[in-house]
């Protein structure tokens, strides 16, 4: 068949199964403006910014228009500009435009478009800044209805990708808004805190809850010792915001920056991840030989834990009792500090749900103090580095602090979907040659597909593994497991599509950027000499020093559930 193409702004663009004209145009390098379109969500067609004009002068929304061979369209005409400006003016008229004190300033689509389309005057009265427009009830996210442009991305994300449905449209016409059931605080909804709504919100209507002030206070107090652990996915998501390339692994510079910010010691959560791998692999082997239920689900994603508690309590006993790397490492660090100052432990995570995990009762010591005092997301740390006036680009690399500086590649790849599984397989494989490790990467655990499957031999047993990311994918899989349609021994679950590299606490990014981040983690893995968790001698020694009771106390957790 001949190639089929469409003519967009005079450019012949080959049609290759694009879902709409908007994607087709973007492929040709023409960025049609849009608020409500997201390639990973269903098409909504509400903002009307993406309209294009055909030869007869009539208009159509390009997000809802199928590519048609031979069709001729224009994306930037006088008429289109006029209407886009009107749409922007209307949105701005009903928007609390206090950009200078808005957490989204600088990363906001509305602000960006208002500037690009040169909107210098709004001719309608505006009384949209209202007290009480914010919902700060969640420890993970903050919602502000006075900033919402009703693009519906959050609703679609929460329902379609996460199958949570914590938020939906309420009321009609100009009273329309985004609300929880009965319009109550989000903390009382089934929200799992994944932050994916914030990751797609084009404006400041859903943002990450910021806890940086509390950390600044701790750092500023000379009677407090503040140490910090940094999750794998953080190091590959800082670059763009700090003047470097998206996806570059930047742990060395980050350690230096955190020291300059004022942290007393910096550690790598990859150390905790190696602990998790060894402990979880042992648990898995135990379960395989009859000690506990199969399939075993991984347990390091707190949004997944909360989702299971809410929607699939019948599977709770299938979830590994191993704590997440953050929560294995934290008590170890708390114990390791022998000074006489007050000890505050901070964790930097790609994740908004970790803020919630940090506050769970299960992760408090005997006196009721949390092991992790504050969880900051990548976004918050980027801002702290900027606030401190640090020229990040120019920083030298530093190593993490003793005695926990030893890490392996296995711990680093935790940050991407399939990484936990790959780490466990590296450990379980008796052959550690480069070739054997490479073979593991071809079992099918890598890649961004929502559900991946692999069968691997462990000992003489064929072990069936599934790797799933996104809670809707997870639900579909769980339902199949329940009905007996599929069987697995081990299931890795990450709530965020693609894993923690795309966590709700990471700087907002387009689809391509997410791939760079995953590549960055594999690159960081590549430079580690030690690839498998049991090669981390410090971890092995640490685990060997703990008796069963101790292990149970600080490495495992039994979720009480929230019902």
């Amino acid at each position: 068949m001949d190639k089929q193409y469409m003519i967009i702004d005079g450019i012949e663009v080959t049609i290759e199964g694009e879902r709409n004209v908007l994607e087709l145009a973007r492929k040709a390098g023409i960025d049609i403006p849009a608020f409500c379109y997201d390639p990973e969500l269903s098409i909504y067609g509400a903002c009307r910014m993406c309209m294009v004009e055909n030869e007869r002068g009539s208009l159509e929304a390009s997000c809802s228009m199928l590519p048609k061979a031979g069709a001729v369209i224009k994306t930037n005409t006088a008429k289109l500009r006029k209407y886009r400006k009107m749409i922007l003016e209307l949105l701005l008229a009903n928007h609390c435009r206090d950009c200078t004190i808005c957490p989204k300033s600088g990363n906001c689509k509305l602000q960006e478009f208002a500037y690009k389309f040169n909107i210098t005057d709004v001719r309608f009265p505006n009384n949209s800044c209202q007290l009480g427009s914010q919902d700060k009830s969640s420890v993970s996210i903050v919602r502000d209805s006075s900033k919402c442009i009703l693009c519906g991305k959050c609703v679609r994300m929460c329902a379609e990708v996460q199958n949570v449905g914590a938020i939906d449209y309420a009321y009609r016409g100009s009273k329309k808004k985004i609300a929880t059931a009965f319009d109550g605080p989000i903390a009382n909804s089934p929200c799992v805190g994944c932050g994916q709504c914030a990751a797609v919100c084009p404006v400041g209507a859903i943002v990450v809850k910021d806890d940086a002030d509390k950390v600044w206070d701790a750092i500023g107090d000379k009677n407090t010792y503040v140490d910090v652990q940094v999750a794998p996915a953080v190091r590959v998501a800082l670059g763009k915001e700090l003047g470097l390339e998206e996806g570059t692994p930047l742990m060395g510079k980050l350690v230096t920056a955190l020291k300059e910010v004022g942290f007393d010691a910096v550690y790598d959560t990859s150390f905790g991840a190696d602990m998790t791998v060894l402990e979880e692999a042992n648990e898995f082997v135990g379960r395989l030989s009859g000690n506990g239920k199969l399939p075993m689900f991984t347990s390091c994603c707190p949004a997944w834990i909360r989702f299971a508690e809410n929607k699939y309590p019948e599977f709770l006993s299938n979830i590994s009792t191993c704590r997440s790397p953050m929560q294995m490492f934290a008590p170890v660090l708390k114990e390791a500090y022998k000074g006489d100052k007050k000890h505050v432990h901070v964790a930097i995570m790609p994740c908004t749900a970790k803020k919630f995990e940090g506050k769970r009762d299960e992760f408090k010591d005997k006196d009721g103090n949390p092991y992790v005092d504050y969880v900051l997301t990548t976004q918050e740390v980027i801002r702290m580095i900027k606030e401190a006036g640090i020229d990040f680009k120019a920083l030298e690399d530093s190593a993490c602090d003793n005695p926990f500086e030893e890490i392996t590649g296995a711990g680093v790849i935790f940050g991407v979907t399939g990484g936990v599984t790959e780490a466990v397989l590296r450990y379980a494989s008796s052959d550690k040659s480069e070739k054997a490790l490479e073979e593991i990467t071809y079992t099918g655990v890598r890649g961004f597909e929502g559900v991946k499957e692999a069968t691997v031999k462990i000992g003489d047993k064929d072990v069936k593994i599934a790797v799933v990311s996104g809670l809707n994918n997870t639900s579909v899989l769980l339902d199949k497991i329940k009905s007996g349609d599929v069987y697995y021994d081990l299931v890795e679950v990450m709530s965020c599509p693609g894993g923690c590299v795309n966590g709700g606490g990471q700087p907002q990014a387009e689809r391509e950027a997410r791939h760079y981040r995953a590549d960055g983690l594999y690159k960081a893995d590549g430079v580690e000499v030690k690839k498998s968790s049991e090669q981390n001698t410090a971890v092995v020694k640490l685990l060997a020093s703990m008796d069963e009771h101790k292990k149970h106390e600080i490495l495992h957790v039994h979720y009480k559930g929230n019902k």
Partner: protein, 165 residues
Amino acid sequence: MDKNTCMVEVARFFMDFTQNESCGKCVPCREGTKRMLEILNRIVEGKGKDGDIELLEELGEAISKTALCGLGKTAAGPVLSTIKYFRNEYEAHIYEKRCPANACAKLKKYVIDPELCKGCSKCARNCPVNAISGEIKKPFTIDQDKCIKCGACVSNCAFKAIKEA
């Protein structure tokens, strides 16, 4: 519809209806019809401003061309066609603060015809806001700034001396 029908009010009425019917999904219909109604409301209340007719036209065109569904695409129709055929009525409301059809309550003006007024003071006694004053047996007058256009004086005048203007 006849000469007592105010075309601006007709347009406002339709816009009020569409506003209630709008589902609120797309920006032009949700936000645009709200703004058109806001402008029409101020025009019939005598608070219309220079530029309002043009702004209505601009909004109407944008909504008609960009709204998602039939409701939105037709929402501005009554406003645009009344502006087209009865622009002078809009102008009278805005620039002269006058409703040519005498239908817009807030734009009504009551005056006492000095030829017919016997100076009985009944109207003044019945005015709830004391907007009418005068000397007995001489023509009374209405203070337009105080008058709230309730019309009580008209029905109280035995000599039909008070008229809408």
